[in-house]
Subunit: 410 residues, 2 copies
């Protein structure tokens, strides 16, 4: 074995990911921008609302005309008309006058408040009684109260959500610049790995990692490109990795089950000029043999061959790299969706490495309980049953039953 | 106003959604199955692993040959060969013999344990010293230990995750039946609503709801079909709703800002034979005017026109209906992603309705703090800034600073 590199903590390796840079951008229509990452701050060209709007169904009037009114002592106003929805109105409200207006309708000139329909009574077509004292601006949204022209409403690096698309629609922005989606070359390796359509002979196994990693790349907003299964030979690995570097923004290889594959991969990487190995070996379980490199600015990730280890390591290192390439702001790049849960039974661990135990979550009495799914790291069935991974810190000897820890949702 | 229906609690309305039924199915390749919903239980046709595998790099041997060994008193074994990865081996291990094997490699006949390479020393090509006592089956995964042939590994109604696809790949399943994705017709309505490419005249506003609802349907796994903006007239509404019922599995309309639109919509629905109105008015804020109907088994959802209300109500009623149509198991259909957070300041509310206040979350000292974003319900900019909605129960008068409540993530 060629162990040139000392084992690092996950944090040490994380810090080195900062060297990678986001990709370029493209223009898309907002209809196609869901979950993309903004390349630019979005600045509103307009005020929202662009006119004074009523927030209720009722009567636009001057607030001062309602002062001191009550159910027993209504103000008597002259009803001078109605504001039709979506139309310009030339009506101007003067002292002692009121105009009917619907929710969202324009509050006409002169009026400064809207009496709700529940507190008014039409006596005849021209006479209105109102019962409730209003302050100026009550039930009125002012021009620019939601969004002011020139205001930054969304920021570069934001991941676009449905409500963000709605906001852009509201201010009339129809297309925007977003970061390109990273293309990720995926290579399986190992002499024992066969395509899943093949019936494996004794000693062979189907290529699970291709399918999990391709799907995880999709979930993280990348575009997966599967390059096939490499044999555990220098030339075959080199040919596929070279193709990956040419065709994509990041290369991911899943090792064979043997430790030797990632060592051989390390040799291949060192044969490229401009390769810097950032880590080979990380104090995390499962996943110790992890290999991370920078090849002329392009990230390379070597994952262990065990399907569970590959998923865990892609989750902790692959996704953050992808998020950086995608242009997500740094606070998002290393963000994990995690919740607190209590250990449903004792979960032992060995200090000196971060241990991620597969757990099934159960909600009971207002708390989450984490049931560990113990199993040798090849057990993909456990991962399919798991809700997430419970973390046991690098200095801890395990969790006692009832002890609380973070669960990272998968 | 035509208020035929009394206001219901969200729970009362939820319970009525159970009447809707999942759609039919289609066959897809597992490559295309990410986030789809299983129409069938997946039963493994094979054992996994299909042969006994080593979990370490080392030497396969009989455990009894290691009994009583130590660093000072190694067992001396005859090294009779090596198991090449991915190949069948005819070697049989006899008493006093060992065979080199890599992680994932086949454990040959006769051997029942694997000594790790760290606890062994090759003296010459044929002689091996081993130092550590092993129990039978140590470092060996047995046939079927991960998955047993005939075992149900995934269930009808599961949403397919990357690791589930990996599991199916591992047992050689290349295509599966999944529920069809619901097609959702979306209609905007309101005389004041204009397409976003249009410069609105005073009194008009851009069609925000089209964009938020289309995006939320996509996120929930549906296929949105936008049918255009209906004017607030019986005939126009009826024509578009009829088209929606013909072309899709669910119809969603967003009302104009006025309360009247959803009343008019209710009249249109009653003109179809086989319409059952399940609710018109729900004690939730924002979103009271919500309209839910069953038109010959097809769900119809009328959302308030206010953009924020529309998003909140689609989240609470639209998504659960979509999940039921998608075939998700019921426990998933009403599941919300929520976390606990403390109110960063007092948040007042009025009892008698569930109140969902937009909040921005901040993580500090190991807790989440919810900062309320107060604003009139039309304020789409607040929704874009919000991380989620904090719930104030129907009988509560609000939250005091520091009080804990659930936040539903948006």
């Amino acid at each position: 074995m060629k162990g040139f590199f000392k084992v690092q903590t996950p944090e040490e390796l994380y810090r080195k990911l900062d060297r990678f840079k986001p990709l370029a951008f493209e223009k898309v229509r907002i209809d196609d921008s869901l979950h993309r990452v903004l390349y630019e701050d979005v600045i509103s060209p307009v005020n929202l609302p662009e006119f004074r709007r009523s927030t209720v169904d009722g009567f636009a009037l001057k607030a001062k005309d309602t002062y001191g009114t009550s159910e027993k002592n209504p103000a008597i106003l002259r009803l001078i008309g109605e504001i039709p929805m979506g139309q310009i109105s030339e009506i101007e409200v003067k002292d002692g006058e009121a105009v009917k207006v619907a929710t969202g309708g324009m509050v006409p000139e002169g009026a400064d408040a809207v009496e709700m329909i529940e507190f008014a009574e039409s006596i005849d077509h021209h006479t209105l009684h109102v019962f409730k004292t209003l302050s100026p601006l009550e039930n009125v949204i002012q021009i620019g109260e939601d969004v002011r022209a020139g205001e930054v409403v969304l920021r570069k690096g934001d991941r676009i959500r449905p409500q963000d698309i709605g906001l852009m629609a509201g201010i009339g922005i129809t297309s925007i610049d977003v970061f390109l989606q990273p293309r990720v070359a995926i290579i399986s390796s190992g002499d024992e790995i066969v395509p899943i359509e093949t019936v494996p002979k004794p000693g062979q196994i189907r290529d699970i990692n291709r399918y999990t990693i391709v799907s995880m790349v999709k979930e993280a907003g990348g575009i997966p490109i599967f390059l096939g299964i490499a044999r555990d030979r220098f030339d075959d690995l080199k040919e596929k990795i070279e193709l990956g570097l040419k065709e994509s923004d990041m290369v991911v290889i899943t090792g064979g089950s043997s430790v030797g594959t990632l060592d051989l991969t390390g040799e291949v990487l060192r044969s490229f000029p401009g390769t810097e190995i950032l880590g080979h070996g990380v104090s995390i379980r499962p996943g110790k043999p992890t290999l991370v490199a920078d090849i002329n600015g392009k990230p390379f990730l070597g994952l262990p061959g065990h399907p569970v280890s590959a998923v865990v390591i892609f989750h902790f290192f692959g996704k953050p790299i992808l998020k950086i390439l995608s242009g997500l702001s740094r606070e998002w790049a290393t963000h994990q969706v995690k919740i607190k849960a209590k250990a449903a039974r004792n979960i032992p661990s060995v200090p000196g490495r971060e241990d991620y135990v597969r757990v099934r979550l159960e909600e009971k009495d207002g708390s989450f309980w984490a049931h560990p799914l113990f199993g040798k790291s090849g057990a993909i069935s456990h991962l399919a049953r798991a809700s997430g991974l419970i973390k046991i810190g690098i200095d801890e000897e395990g969790l006692e039953q009832g002890e609380e820890a973070e669960v990272i949702l998968l």
